[in-house]
């Protein structure tokens, strides 16, 4: 893998900064809306991990596919689903990207080939295998990027899926977001070998560990992996070392980790880190930050208005789309 470039272009830098800021602010808003009971059910925030989605999505093409988990707001937004459609989905409105039926854990979008939004840990991996298999059989030069947490590594489906991907040489990019905890279970309590990229390597897959708090490192690693996948028609695996700053979901008293630990990681905030670098390198200035924050605030305001103005799906349509012919 090539090293992390010490410099990035202004355009590139601003894009990542904006991407991460959009995710960060959108989710902060979601937390607020959850408090107001506008958003219900489970809400899993990605805050702290934005560099992973930002750095990765930038390297995927329109034709590629994305499979994610219930902690997927950032992936959905940066894959290109409009914030309006996402916010409306959070509200459960018909204008949402899943017609309001999925909510926070089940964002879907056919247009951007975003296949969710899966609330079963490790449930998305076999799906990614199949999407890639379809591409391979139809000789389409596509990649399927599959995001999942380190907790999923303990599931049998992780094992079965990695084996199939390598055995059948499928164009899958596995992105393990290792934020050190699965709900309250620390990595060391869920894995006998905590070096996840090594675990993956044992399947004969190209694998690396990446600083998931640094969008530039993430992007570099993903670019290389994607290149390899397209060139060698083989899967690749990246372990992104990151951390979630917020509770697992809105019901989590966080008894399993110390405030100090959380604070230490917050020092590595991906948004702050990139901002600092770009400022230090005089690639951007305070005005740029303000512009981004203003634009994002505006986008969020519009999204909330859109969601508020959205409609509830009529109860008569409850059974719609259980089957194709149930319409």
């Amino acid at each position: 893998m090539n090293g992390r470039p010490s410099q990035v272009s202004r355009e590139q830098g601003l894009r990542w900064l904006k991407d991460m800021t959009r995710v960060r602010r959108m989710e902060e808003k979601c937390a607020e809306l959850y408090g107001q009971e506008k958003i219900r059910g489970f809400l899993h925030l990605y805050i702290g991990e934005e560099a992973v989605a930002a750095g990765a999505m930038a390297e995927l093409g329109e034709e590629d596919a994305v499979v994610a988990t219930y902690r997927e707001h950032g992936h959905a937004l940066l894959r290109g689903i409009s914030m309006n459609a996402i916010m409306a989905e959070m509200y459960g409105k018909r204008e949402g990207c899943s017609r309001g039926r999925g909510g926070s854990m089940h964002l879907f979008d056919a247009e951007t080939r975003f296949y969710g939004g899966n609330a079963i840990v490790s449930g998305g991996l076999p799906l990614a295998i199949g999407l890639a298999l379809a591409d391979k059989m139809q000789k389409r030069p596509r990649i399927t990027a599959c995001f999942f947490g380190e907790g999923a590594v303990a599931e049998g489906e992780f094992h079965e899926s990695l084996n199939l991907a390598v055995l059948w040489q499928l164009p899958v990019l596995f992105v393990c977001e290792n934020n050190l905890y699965a709900m309250g279970t620390a990595l060391a309590r869920s894995e006998s070998v905590t070096d996840i990229h090594q675990k993956a390597a044992a399947y004969g897959i190209d694998s690396a560990a990446v600083d998931g708090m640094d969008v530039i490192s993430v992007n570099t690693a993903v670019r290389d992996a994607v290149k390899k996948i397209r060139a060698e028609e083989a899967p690749a695996f990246l372990e992104m070392r990151t951390y979630r700053f917020r509770a697992h979901s809105m019901f989590d008293p966080e008894l399993y980790r110390s405030k100090e630990e959380v604070e230490q990681w917050k020092q590595l905030c991906p948004v702050a880190t990139l901002t600092a670098q770009l400022m230090a390198q005089k690639v951007i200035d305070g005005g740029d930050i303000a512009d981004i924050e203003n634009a994002v605030a505006e986008e969020i305001r519009k999204a909330v208005d859109f969601a508020e103005a959205g409609n509830w799906e009529p109860v008569e349509d409850l059974m719609k789309d259980v089957y194709t012919d149930s319409n």
């Binding site: 999925g102 979008d109 056919a110 296949y115 609330a119 379809a134 591409d135 079965e160 259980v322």
Partner: protein
């Protein structure tokens, strides 16, 4: 969106003597020849020829990519089938037997069945899952399940069970035309069975039940491997002057209420025959529907012949004692007719 376009098919086979095994193989070959997107995937479907020899020869004819042997990874390859369906393929995934499907239920129930509704209609999953089911071969407790009722419980799935040679030959074609997940249950006792296929095999809508033997005194409602037991029981009952109507469900989900209720209303008596364990059997659901919708048309208590509630034992005499038998059906009908003393 509209219902599956084609609800009925006519397949010209120029008539032939064949087995259920060969009929399914012919159906698979036809599907593979007719549509590039179709492929068969599962454990030992290729080199081994299928654990019941159903897919023998297909690997040689269609190659490794389309007759895909999988590792022992039920959850991953069934999930991969779902993903491939999303990706535009028309996968036929064989889960060797329903017994092993317990390892991939999550993918079927939480992904295949939910995806379309949960995504607001954006994604359909045109996958066909084939599983053999049933007991009777002395394979003991872990290899003798009949869990069709579990799958028939799940919204988003379509579940069918061929009982006739025609359906074994033709249902697959309609299943592949269905934009939603279809599970085909093939009873292992049928594969070796022989029969005559007509010139033109007419396959009715896979959502419809069929009256296999018209009758006026009692409705015998069954499916799959038990159809022939029910028909034989009907013949014996005829000798005793009891005219039984035999309904072959064909579709286990959705259930064809119209046909079921029409028969029950006509005969005013119903006995369900089901190889599943009694409690929570599909037979219970059918009975309950009749009790809900045709209660006032009934002249006798509803009744059922199911499998004893026991892990199926290995010895033949115990296994047979646990499974529905022609005598049990005859006795139960006579009881319902008030002819037992």
């Amino acid at each position: 969106m509209a219902a599956p376009p084609l609800l009925q098919e006519i397949i010209t086979v120029n008539g032939m003597k064949t087995t259920y095994r060969e009929a399914m193989r012919a159906a698979l070959r036809e599907a593979l020849q007719g549509d590039e997107r179709v492929f068969l995937m599962g454990e030992d479907v290729g080199r081994y020829g299928g654990c019941y020899a159903v897919s023998q020869g297909l690997l040689q004819e269609f190659g490794e990519a389309r007759i895909r042997d999988t590792p022992l990874s039920e959850s991953a390859f069934v999930g991969a089938g779902i993903g491939a369906a999303l990706g535009g393929m028309r996968p036929i995934v064989e889960v060797m037997t329903v017994n092993f499907s317990l390892l991939c239920l999550d993918q079927i129930v939480n992904t295949a069945a939910t995806l379309r509704h949960m995504s607001g209609g954006q994604f359909s999953v045109p996958i066909v899952l084939r599983m053999t089911t049933g007991a009777g071969r002395q394979l003991a407790a872990q290899h003798s399940h009949s869990l069709e009722c579990w799958y028939a419980h799940v919204p988003g799935l379509r579940v069918i069970a061929p009982a006739t040679l025609e359906d074994m030959r033709g249902m697959l074609r309609l299943a592949l035309k269905d934009p939603d997940p279809v599970i085909i249950f093939e009873h292992n006792a049928l594969y070796n069975r022989e029969g005559e296929l007509a010139e033109d095999v007419r396959i009715e809508d896979i959502r419809r039940a069929a009256v296999r033997r018209p009758g006026s005194d009692v409705s015998l409602i069954c499916y799959g491997g038990n159809l022939f037991k029910a028909l034989e029981a009907a013949e014996q009952l005829a000798l005793n002057g009891i005219d039984a109507e035999v309904i072959d469900l064909r579709s286990l989900r959705p259930l064809d209420d119209a046909t079921i209720l029409a028969s029950a209303r006509k005969t005013r008596r119903a006995v369900m025959v089901d190889e599943g364990w009694r409690s929570g059997s599909l037979a219970a659901e059918i009975g309950m529907r009749i009790a809900e919708q045709a209660f006032y048309d009934l002249d006798a208590p509803l009744s059922r012949v199911c499998t004893a509630e026991v892990p199926i034992p290995y010895p033949r005499h115990l296994e047979q004692a646990a499974l529905p038998q022609v005598e049990n059906i005859v006795d139960k009908v006579r009881e319902v007719m008030g002819k037992n003393d």
